[in-house]
């Protein structure tokens, strides 16, 4: 019988255990992937499916106003969408763990709460990075030819993963707050109007002026436009507004703001589990 659970209380030990526990919890997701490869493959290929639909079916209509190739225009948008969809993954996982008692079991173990969140973070970020790579490769196969200079590519990937990291904290918060399957479904439906009311798929120049401005103010537009500017996805859509002029700044500021708001809110939600 194993009774020796010696107390690792020195700070270095604590840090070592934090890393070990984080890895164990992330490994749990990787095990899921191995146990159901079909579902994972579908998740990674879904953005490719969307890309095909937009290019093949809608490219002719939406692309008219962009001047250049619609593929070059829409690819940064599709990559932004891929990161945005991470919200659903995080939210669903957090909500399922909370409702099935897995969260409580973690909380009844002598591990730090930080490891549980960090494990989720590692798993979700790796998942989304794979999705990003798959989508980008599929785009290249479709004929997407971005202007790739190493610094611009690094910056574009950085902006996209930063958006995903912000979605992680929104997802944790929503997943802890929304208890029912109906609530989860509602969020899954609500992501669509948010995607369409942006420059992710559609050039805002084709919208009425007031609507175009609202669309350009979206955090998703900021990320898509910033990536377009970095990778040469045609001219800034919708002409020169304050939002498109400052897209790179906004692509960093919006996620930063979301993190500043939702990270403490998520921590508060975890604490409120004790009330």
């Amino acid at each position: 019988m194993t009774t020796s659970t010696s107390a690792p209380d020195r700070p270095t030990d604590r840090f070592r255990w934090l890393l070990a526990d984080t890895w164990t919890i992330a490994l749990r997701d990787f095990t899921h992937w191995r146990n159901r490869p079909g579902i994972m493959a579908f998740g990674w290929l879904f953005p490719v499916l969307m890309m095909t639909v937009f290019i093949a079916l809608l490219g002719g209509v939406f692309g008219m106003a962009t001047g250049g190739s619609y593929l070059d225009f829409v690819m940064p948008g599709i990559l932004t969408m891929t990161m945005f969809f991470g919200l659903e993954g995080t939210m669903t996982a957090i909500s399922a763990d909370a409702s099935k008692g897995v969260t409580d079991r973690f909380r009844s173990l002598p591990i730090g709460g930080l490891a549980v969140v960090a494990g989720r973070c590692v798993a979700d970020m790796v998942n989304s990075a794979i999705g990003l790579a798959v989508t980008a490769l599929a785009g290249l196969a479709f004929g997407w030819r971005p202007d790739v200079s190493p610094p611009a590519t690094v910056a574009a990937v950085g902006i996209l993963l930063l958006l995903r990291f912000a979605m992680l904290w929104v997802g944790i918060f929503v997943g802890l707050r929304v208890k029912s399957q109906e609530g989860i479904t509602a969020v899954q439906v609500l992501v669509w109007p948010l995607l369409f009311l942006s420059s992710v798929f559609i050039d805002t120049a084709t919208m009425p002026r007031w609507l175009g401005t609202i669309a350009e103010a979206s955090p998703l537009s900021a990320a898509a436009t910033a990536v377009r500017q970095l990778l040469g996805g045609g001219a800034s859509p919708g002409g020169e507004t304050w939002f498109t002029d400052h897209a790179s700044l906004l692509a960093v500021a919006y996620p930063a703001l979301l993190i500043v708001v939702f990270l403490p809110l998520s921590a508060l939600c975890y604490r409120h589990l004790r009330r």
Partner: protein, 333 residues
């Protein structure tokens, strides 16, 4: 890790807990909860839905803060020494808190690693537990394919990875079929033989009777009675056999024939005979064979058990209804 001179597994004094969502006019979930559990054996916390069982367990396992009072588990204060408490306890909650997308072995390995076992040690312990709980053959299958009873047993085994001093088991058999229930009971009995103290919550009188050495009865957020199962049952009254003869005229004869098995006063009313008995199954067999040759025809014969509602009505001092008068009483089994 045990603190010197502390022979109590659990000690709770004057615990009050009101959820923030509780309405102003409603009573708190726990209202002066007191509990003393000695080390070793099974202590049953018995109460109907909404009596505060789960709230009490969540406070004792440091998942929930208390408003007032003091709780010590394994000699550590749950409010200020949560981490130490968590090193001494295991928790099996109301829902099987295991990962459905992983196999039983993968679940045990993960929780073993999180409980500070080395990979090799975690694997050895996982196989040991799968063996002990009769899951060796299904250990590599995904949990989503397990039956309810198998999930519960896996859930129990996860809580036992590091051999906790005190194991909290919250309504372990709710929703299980009789076979699954028996499996879980056997698993808990095995644990206790290994020296673990078990705090078991249940709403089934029969379950507490089967497993617990001591029972505390909970109603409206406080313990209203305590003692051994036999002591409590004596307060509540006996089981009874209810017989409905086809001819009302036979009632008197039935009562006369069954008199030797009665543990109390036989009642005859509304076309039925109600016979209080001590040993329900043997009494049924004995009375059945006594009646077989009498030539009396019966519409119905059944065993009745006082329900928890009857118990609580009696113990909380409300208008104590006569359990024999409750015709809708159903056995919890």
């Amino acid at each position: 890790m045990r603190r010197d001179g502390n022979e109590l597994a659990i000690e709770a004094r004057g615990v009050r807990k009101r959820y923030p969502s509780t309405g102003a006019g409603e009573p708190p979930a726990l209202n002066g909860f007191e509990l003393t559990v000695a080390r070793g054996g099974v202590h049953g916390l018995l109460g109907p839905n909404g009596s505060g069982k789960t709230t009490a367990v969540r406070i004792m396992t440091t998942l929930l803060d208390l408003d007032e009072g003091e709780v010590q588990v394994a000699g550590y204060d749950v409010a200020s020494e949560g981490r130490q408490v968590r090193r001494q306890i295991g928790l099996v909650g109301q829902y099987a808190a295991i990962d459905e997308e992983m196999s039983g072995l993968q679940n045990l390995m993960m929780f073993g690693r999180l409980s500070r076992l080395s990979i090799r040690e975690a694997r050895r312990r996982a196989h040991e537990l799968l063996e002990q709980f009769g899951l060796a053959e299904t250990g590599s299958k995904r949990v989503s394919a397990y039956s309810g009873g198998m999930r519960r047993r896996l859930d129990l085994s996860v809580a036992l990875i590091v051999d906790p001093q005190i194991l909290f088991v919250d309504e372990p058999t709710t929703g299980l079929d009789p076979a699954g229930r028996r499996d879980v009971w056997d698993a808990i009995r095995t644990l206790v033989r290994g020296g673990t103290t078990v705090l078991l919550t249940t709403q089934y009188l029969e379950e507490a009777d089967q497993l617990a050495d001591d029972i505390s009865m909970l109603a409206h957020g406080r313990v209203v009675a305590g003692g051994t199962p036999a002591e409590l049952k004596a307060q509540v009254g006996d089981d009874w056999i209810e017989l409905v003869p086809r001819e009302t005229a036979d009632i008197a004869r039935v009562a006369e024939l069954l008199a030797p098995w009665a543990s109390g006063e036989i009642r005859s009313a509304h076309g039925r005979v109600q016979l209080p008995v001590l040993d329900r199954t043997n009494s049924l067999l004995a009375t059945a064979s006594a009646l077989r040759d009498s030539g009396i025809a019966f519409e119905d014969i059944s065993i009745r058990t006082p329900t928890l509602d009857d118990v609580f009505l009696q113990l909380t001092g409300s208008t104590a209804t006569d359990p024999l008068a409750d015709q809708t009483a159903a056995s919890p089994a």
